[in-house]
Symmetry: C2
């Protein structure tokens, strides 16, 4: 997901003409929206899928009531709108959750990651836009859900139409996804990112880990150990606290070790997804690199895909539906 | 550990004599102190180990600087002190941590749970008391530490001098302890209680679990499943969120399931401690009962020991050193 908020409009988005009226220089064919729990990002798109301008804020779904969304969206895209035409807006992510703008019910796998089924039309007060929200995907047994990742998957599959194998989307709630014959056939969510954040910031371990710096080899050692024995990871967490008290283990080393233990545990538990499969990793951040580094060390070939590129490609698929 | 704070003095602790002076009815032989991270509890003890009076507050180690401890202690015990004698005060728990009143360095296992080695004498400004802090125990490989539990162990072993086997002390950081020939020979800490608290109150799962009510069979089903496959527990956490979204699983059931998953995971990872050993559980609260219920279901005989009784017995051992 795209994390860096940017509330500034580019100065090239508009200018004032000789009569003193504002003229929009950006005239998108459609607008793409990636609306997560903590951020929203909007893209003015050309008909051939180029980004003409972008904008964003930290007004994620988590901080908004259903009635708030339209004003937040209009504030971000107003300079791209015209009085004389209706611009399609395609949104994905938590905006379609039950607590979002309007619920777009999950589509059950196996299915295409994005299709016209379940695309939620939302009536807006402002008639210059025509809003559609993409539904997430669900799995019955074991129960699982995703919202937003399906759009990245659609984008990735558009760029790699013959792909068969596993796609991993690391993050707060990592997803491991099986792709076969253009369909998402199954997936599994791990709470690794959230667990790391809670343990390193809020648990007793916070006294032993440092938020600055990185120890590459401590990370990798711990990750490889946990991949082999994911059943032991949770029983070894407190060792980090004890080693810090008894052996003065460096807090940077301890933090990298904790990260390695948890990512290694996930990889160990997700082994069926990568052991005999081609693996593609969708991610833009350092976290995705940590997954890739560990998998490469395990002898697995990994293809890295930029998350922003994937989501724009996915939104473009949806815009053509 | 004793969790319920009680800042009230018993009305029987003192009375006013005919001259209007306060007369202390409680004249302890010594004073026991259980000073944890979040609470402190003090006991006025007779020479034969009876509790004459008790007091406490929520001024745990976590909220105090080293210079604060003496005033907090005096405030709790002042009505038990006399001008004409020095009363021994024996304290255990986080009061002896590096961030506590004064550090009492860990004693390395194998060793007696409590001995005169490492007993830290603390000079107080008030000369009516003579303060000793009990050190915790440490283990070298794998690194582990305890503070406070060693006193409960000493008390338990005094009550059960021939005990050989495992003692489990459930809690925020559960301890599994091997006892052989009067010695603590090794131990292991699990962060289960803290993990449950973080996941149920702060993670995405908080939307799916409820803080009221209890589903006994959901707990036990989840616990027994996790005991068998502790390596799967962490990969199944997000199912709780998805089942709540897709199948409207009752939040009381979801909470009991989460608790069962985590306690079962701990029991599964700690199986070497209980599979072929006699098990004693020291605990006063519902959490200890959950461990006991699961172990009994697994066909393990469990002896339950009251935590307060154990700690008072342990402090009595130390008072006689």
């Amino acid at each position: 997901m795209i994390k860096s908020p940017n509330t500034e409009l580019s100065p090239s988005d508009h200018e004032t003409n000789f009569q003193g009226n504002v003229v929009n220089l950006v005239q998108p064919n459609w607008i793409g929206v990636d609306w997560g729990t903590t951020n929203v990002r909007v893209f003015a798109m050309s008909s051939d899928g180029r980004v003409l301008a972008e904008n964003g804020s930290n007004k994620g779904m988590g901080s908004l009531a259903p009635g708030d969304f339209e004003a937040v969206l209009l504030d971000l895209i107003q300079l791209w709108l015209s009085e004389d035409k209706v611009i399609p807006v395609i949104a994905c992510g938590m905006v379609g959750a039950r607590q979002g703008w309007k619920e777009a019910e999950y589509r059950l796998v196996p299915c295409l990651p994005v299709s016209d089924q379940g695309l939620m039309v939302v009536n807006t007060r402002d008639k210059r836009i025509s809003l559609h929200i993409l539904p997430g995907l669900s799995q019955r047994d074991p129960s699982d859900v995703m919202r937003g990742e399906e759009t990245q998957l659609a984008g990735f599959m558009k760029m790699n139409p013959r792909f068969q194998g596993t796609v991993c989307l690391p993050g707060t709630h990592s997803k491991w996804v099986s792709i076969s014959g253009q369909l998402v056939t199954g997936f599994k969510t791990f709470m690794t990112g959230e667990l790391f954040s809670l343990l390193s910031n809020q648990s007793i371990l916070r006294h032993s880990v440092n938020s600055e710096g990185w120890d590459v080899s401590a990370f990798l050692d711990a990750a490889l150990k946990s991949v082999e024995n994911p059943d032991k990871t949770m029983s070894e967490l407190f060792n980090l606290r004890a080693s810090s008290l008894l052996q003065n283990v460096d807090p940077v080393t301890a933090r990298s070790t904790l990260s390695g233990m948890l990512i290694g545990q996930e990889l160990g538990m997700a082994a069926d997804f990568w052991k005999k499969q081609t693996v593609a990793l969708i991610g833009a951040n350092e976290i995705a690199s940590l997954y890739a580094d560990t998998l490469v060390e395990l002898g697995i070939d990994v293809e890295m895909i930029d998350a922003k590129e994937a989501i724009l490609s996915g939104l473009s698929c949806a815009a053509k539906l």
